[in-house]
Amino acid sequence: MYFRPDTLDHAVQVLASSGGQILAGGTDFFPSLGDRPVTGTVVDISGLGEIRGVITEPKYIKIGGLTTWTEIIQTPLPPCFDGLKAAAREIGSIQIQNRATVAGNLCNASPAADSVPALLTLDAEVELASQVGIRRLPIADFIVGNRKTLRQPGEILSHVFVPRAIENAASTFLKLGARRYLVISIAMAAAVIQRSSTGHITDARVCVGSCSAVARRLRELELKLIGAPARAELGLLATAHDLGDISPINDVRATAAYRRDAALTLVQRALDACARGS
């Protein structure tokens, strides 16, 4: 069965009564099928215009789940989104960015999902809609493992909320892949650095992705950065010890040791870039 609801209300009703897989941009959905045809029930939510686009609210910037990565890149947003925009430019190819959605990247919850480190540094929250209503939870709680989230079968990720409290902070995202374009990351780092008028760091968020089942914030390093002067060699404050309990794996793309080494370099470069930009 194939359904293409045109409102969110209708979509959650269909999901509740028929179940099935949710199809949005499809850029992970179809490649994961390989040569197999689409079977079972499909709820195609690509027509739900009401959960697409970015809205600025008093306390949050609200991103519709069906917003594409190209739309994120093209929407004028405060500096704390520079990291998320940089991540958006690394997702697949331009054709994929034109189709793939914010909700899809989060719900597929790949350890290598490019948007997750940046959204974790923004303390973003997800809103899940179902027939019984909506609920909100931090992305840090939502993604619980390798391709595992707390999304229930009847829920649609309808919006992402980014708190505006640090919207003027500098942010960045760096990804290491085996080549420049169209590549799954070996390691990635995102950082958000807010500084006071005297140039000292008042808030720091640093996150490493592709080096554990879920991207990890480096809380000890963040605490160490607070109060430090935000200058060009800020990255030197990060050491191997600060990578804490990331648990990179050996796979076809890199060894664990290489990933750990690359992650530290990316963190240092991300901090340097934020210090220059703040």
């Binding site: 069965m1 194939y2 199809l23 850029t27 179809f30 490649p31 190819s93 054709q95 994929i96 189709r99």
Partner: protein, 163 residues
């Protein structure tokens, strides 16, 4: 899946197709509409040979359903000619050897058409970045970059002559 009627707008014409809703846009174009310009290269979103425009935006027709495109305007390589003759970029690809075996060419042309519509005077770096989602295993790309630059120059000259 059971066949359903799906309305598709392709290259300015409306078609009613009785197809399975699980049918990929690429298959609907090639099998039901006989528009075989768009190619299946990889089936995992890495080659760009199936690139078409959906409401003017380049997308991969191998990773979307035809049924998802109801109400949207699809443009394929068959729809980019201008007044019955080759578009400037198609002609430049021929002149500069931008196409060799030709399998990837329709996808590239769709990508380049969008690039030039958004950015009429791209730098070489912008051209390389824009083409990064399309793969070619024959040309080594340089002939394509030359073709695109030639098309941009021809367009500039044409505009200057028209003034």
């Amino acid at each position: 899946m059971k066949k359903e009627l799906v309305g598709l707008r392709v290259n300015g014409r409306t078609h009613e197709l009785a197809i399975e809703p699980s049918k990929l846009l690429l298959d609907a174009l090639r099998q039901d509409l006989q528009l075989t310009g768009s190619k299946r290269g990889c089936d995992d979103s890495s080659c760009g040979a199936c690139t078409v425009h959906v409401d003017g935006i380049p997308m991969l027709s191998c990773t979307m359903l035809a049924a998802s495109c109801e109400g949207q305007e699809i443009t394929t390589i068959e729809g980019v000619s201008e007044h019955g003759s080759l578009a400037a970029i198609q002609k430049a690809y021929g002149d500069w050897g931008g196409a060799q075996c030709g399998y990837c060419t329709p996808g590239f042309i769709m990508t380049v058409k969008h690039l030039l519509a958004e950015n009429p005077k791209p730098t070489e770096e912008e051209i390389r970045g824009a083409l990064s989602g399309n793969l070619c295993r024959c040309t080594g790309y340089n002939q394509m970059y030359q073709a695109i630059k030639a098309a941009v120059e021809a367009e500039q000259k044409g505009m200057a002559a028209a003034r």
